[in-house]
Amino acid sequence: MLISCNILKKHIKNSDKIDFVSVWDKFTIRTAEVEGVYLKGNQFDNVVTARILEVEEHPKSKKLHILKVDTGDEQLQIVCGAPNVRVGLIGACIKVGGHIDDIEIGVRPLVGVDSHGMMCSGKELGISDDHTGIIELPEDTPIGVDIKKLFPIEDIIVEIDNKSLTHRPDLWGHYGIAREIAAITGNELLPLDLNTEVPEKKKLKIKINNPESCFRYVGTKLDNINNNKTPLWMQIFLYYAGMRSINLLVDLTNYVMLELGQPMHAFDSRIVKDIEVGFANNGDSYTTLDGTERKLTNEDLMIKNGGKYFAIAGVMGGLDSEIVEDTNSIVLESACFEASTIRKTAIRLGLRTEASARYEKSLDPNMAIIAANRFIKLLKDENPNMSFASAITDIYPTIQGENNIELNKEYLYKYMGFEIDDKTVMHILTSLGFKVKNLSKKFSIVVPTYRSTKDVSIPADIIEEVSRMYGYENFTHVPLKMDMTFGNNEIVYDTEYEVKDYLANKFNLHEVNTYLWNKSQFLKKLNIIVDNVKLLGKTEDNTLRNDLNLSMLEAASVNINNYDEFGIFEIGTIVKEDAKRHLSIMLVRNTDNLKIGYYQIKEYVYSLFKSLKNIDVQYVLLDEKEEYYNNELSLGILANDKLIGYITVFNRKVSAAINKKKSFICADIDFDKYCMLEQNAYTFKEISKYPQTTLDYTIITKRGSFYKNLEEILNKFESPIIMKRELIDIYLDGDTKKVTIRYTVGSLEKTLTSEELNDFKNKFIEFLEQNGLGIFE
């Protein structure tokens, strides 16, 4: 929102004492965020009002004219190209020696004729966008006066962040901002200059069908409006505030809205029969002022005239009621609508107007009548003959009261962290328009209605008012008092970090972050269909992931052209009915290295559980996973005999769609389960002091059989002297697979005798024979 300091000054007593450039730093830390402070009217100097005395054709140019201009103290010859030059016009003349946008004006020949200065357009003066001709000042403008002395061209315009005002309906107009500035600088806010006439006329026919959505409707009919020209000072202000000047009646509604924050509407009274406020019928349509036809629902609040839609309440009017050239009588609307009703309609129609932006903030219904009287006062200033054609009709079914709050002083001090004296509290609150009674242990506070609609309702709200005006920069910094009771802790975050750190620093893997949903394009390319919980209102990238490996695959595909072989991981959420945390590790390997990569990922997972949980994970063959995996290569991961995850490889069809030469090996671990695992206790292991013997056996198995099968058999062979069993070598020979294993045998108590050793050997060979396994000598 753009704020003009010239307008603020009108509302503050002794405003000349305030430095309106620096005060905004204070405003930022007391009230709301200021996005910029812009100085207006300093891009030119030496511009005076001047009357055109003579207009002559230029001998060599059809476009140019040679003017004789009266600038008060002298008559100048000026060559001018504007089409609107005429004798008697009062314009703005920049004299020789003056500056505009850093250019100095000198005597300059234009097609052979000297020009002693320049007549300016509104755009050149920075007070309008009009560059079609020179500016035409009002006929009663005195000649030869510095234009900046006559009109409020010099101004300080302040941009305030709208987002920081969402909770402050009172700050959506200059008057509310002026109240804050007055309070911040210790000055007095001046009362508004309002119409006080109470016309003894018939009331307008106004009916509110839905008082829960229309809190108040003030309407009045005004006649004899003959002057519809906006005074220049107001045009300049509207331009600075980012609005376009149209005509007096429209401009006045906008002016009052910018001044008081109350949106208003002026209808051409020739159209108005009776006014009704109520919801639309589902499916009806209505064409708004901008010429667009809009579909309505029964949640859209409408103003109706003679039973027909007339305006979308609080959002936008229609074409038929627009103020036109010959309008000389209006019906003024100054109403208050319920915030969320207006908000919903504005959003649904995609029509966020200045009016709807304000209504969304919960305006004070009491402002509606004040604003109407302000409008009437300003209109009368420009139209002294204006007359009332109706009473000021005020339909106000539920009156907005003032909130009453009791603030316990003890509570205030506790909240602020120190004691603040009563006088300061009273002064701050009074300056903001609150009424305060100082009772011994508390303050009894009446909140003005413009702060009562939603903003200030509980003691903590009052504490905010006191604290911010006291100044947060004046607060002492007080450390928290130490509490030495043992605190609670949850291990999830630390566990997560521990795992990430381990994977990154031990196995040189890279952590990535990916999205909670699958990318539609990516899945389509791979011909994978995921059916899962969906984001509403989106058609692309709208399915939440149920397999973190797919996200890793997507991240891998991003890097596939930049890296040969690499490994990535993430701990992230997947959704399968509930949200769960999973860890996914992916190794990208050249297809020739699939075997190496597969063994690596097994080792990583094993090592992770062993190092961080002291758990020896087991791997089991898995029957089935998703069809986009090569399920022949799927292994389940068992921790303490419970399935906690799996290792697998994306199938050739999927991997070839990304890159024919790569394989994508991944491990997926249920991280919630991982966090729940207790670390196994470390127990001291005794080392034998006696010599041990190693015995190597090469066992012949069938080619193509899994080692796992052999291992399961070997596990059944038990002997008290086995200290360790290792896999030494595998050798493929024809259709056999020769597996060399090594037993380390010994005892903690003694050296084994040769009988004991022979006994072991015999028993083992016998065991192998029983299980149909041969030995390679």
């Binding site: 802790n489 952590e511 891998a556």
Partner: protein
């Protein structure tokens, strides 16, 4: 005799230069110190010498012997060292493999470690959450703009993706009660179009302190202390009024610009301040909803943008890099 010895020493010094291998060393050692060496011959003559000569030559022979031993072994070591050098090039670049942690992980770890020293516990919460925890329990009314589809990812199972880690506030209060010092790092989601400074998926860290007599003054101290540790700089903080339904009063916290130290630069748009972290005193209704008596207890909460912090710390100029998975950007964060 003295002349002969001088000559011997000179010859030995010359021969020593030719030691390149262990074999050379042994040959030369036996030539000059062996039983049949010249020196041994001279030493054998000592018993025939006069007493004066014995006193002179005895120590001299020993000295020469020691000198030879050191000389030869030094030469051998020298040769061995230079042999090693010839076998490889010590100036070749070493292999450069390393893993990496995500920048947000690193920053999150730093911040939580700091908060731990202040006695905060770390909690986690679900990314898919209910309307109750994300809005209702935080005093965000049904009509509040934040609940719109434009801002929130609603799901077809009636849940939503949490828009803020504040969704854990109520859980923390219900689970642990007061007093409480807790922080919650985690992913949040907002329905935003992506550009260099907007992401729909980002990390926040929620902090919350509840006890008897917790004041605005405590909040200012804690935030300033924490941020000094985070930035390792003597930064200043300032509070501005800010509005969040779950705080009262609510603040926007600015810290003095970490680039220019508050003088004014392009990063802080000349103001000397950077908007960093919304915070505030916990709204009494939020406390009550969490089962905590707001007449006895008060507290403050803050929401630190971890993603933003990581970007500031590592001067990352495009937020989209962080969720891109592109290792060209990410692989260098190889710090513990």
């Amino acid at each position: 005799m003295q002349e002969k010895l001088k000559d011997l020493v000179a010859r030995a010094a010359e021969d020593a230069k030719s030691i390149k291998t262990e074999a050379d060393y042994l040959n030369i050692k036996s030539k000059y110190l062996g039983k049949k060496s010249e020196l041994a011959e001279y030493m054998a003559q000592i018993k025939f010498m006069s007493n004066d000569d014995k006193k002179l030559f005895g120590p001299l022979f020993n000295m020469i012997k020691t000198e030879f031993e050191t000389l030869f072994s030094d030469k051998l070591e020298e040769a061995e060292n230079s042999n090693e050098k010839l076998k490889f090039d010590p100036t070749l670049p070493c292999s450069n493999t390393h893993g990496s942690l995500h920048p947000v992980t690193i920053v999150g770890r730093e911040v939580t470690n700091i908060l731990k020293t202040m006695g905060f516990m770390i909690m986690s919460g679900p990314e898919m959450d209910s309307e109750y925890y994300n809005f209702e329990a935080l005093n965000i009314p049904k009509t509040h703009p934040a609940r719109d589809m434009q801002d929130t990812y609603w799901l077809d199972n009636g849940m939503l993706l949490r828009t803020q880690t504040s969704s854990v506030q109520n859980r923390a209060m219900r689970k642990y009660g007061a007093p409480l010092k807790v922080c919650v790092p985690g992913r949040c989601f907002r329905n935003e179009d992506l550009d260099a400074s907007h992401e729909n998926t980002f990390f926040q860290l929620e902090g919350m302190v509840i006890d008897k007599n917790i004041s605005i003054s405590n909040l200012i101290y804690t935030m300033e202390g924490m941020l000094k540790e985070v930035f390792k700089k003597d930064i200043k903080v300032r509070l501005r009024p800010g509005f969040f339904p779950f705080t009262e009063p609510g603040f926007e916290l600015d810290c003095s610009c970490t680039i220019c130290d508050g003088v004014g630069c392009p990063t802080c748009k000349g103001s000397g301040w950077i908007e960093l972290c919304p915070c505030g005193m916990i709204h009494p209704r939020v406390l009550e909803e969490g089962g905590i008596d707001s007449t006895k207890y008060s507290g403050f909460a803050f929401g630190l943008g971890l993603t933003r912090l990581a970007m500031m710390k590592y001067k990352i100029n495009d937020i989209r890099v962080l969720n891109s998975g592109d290792l060209r950007y990410l692989e260098d964060f190889n710090v513990r």
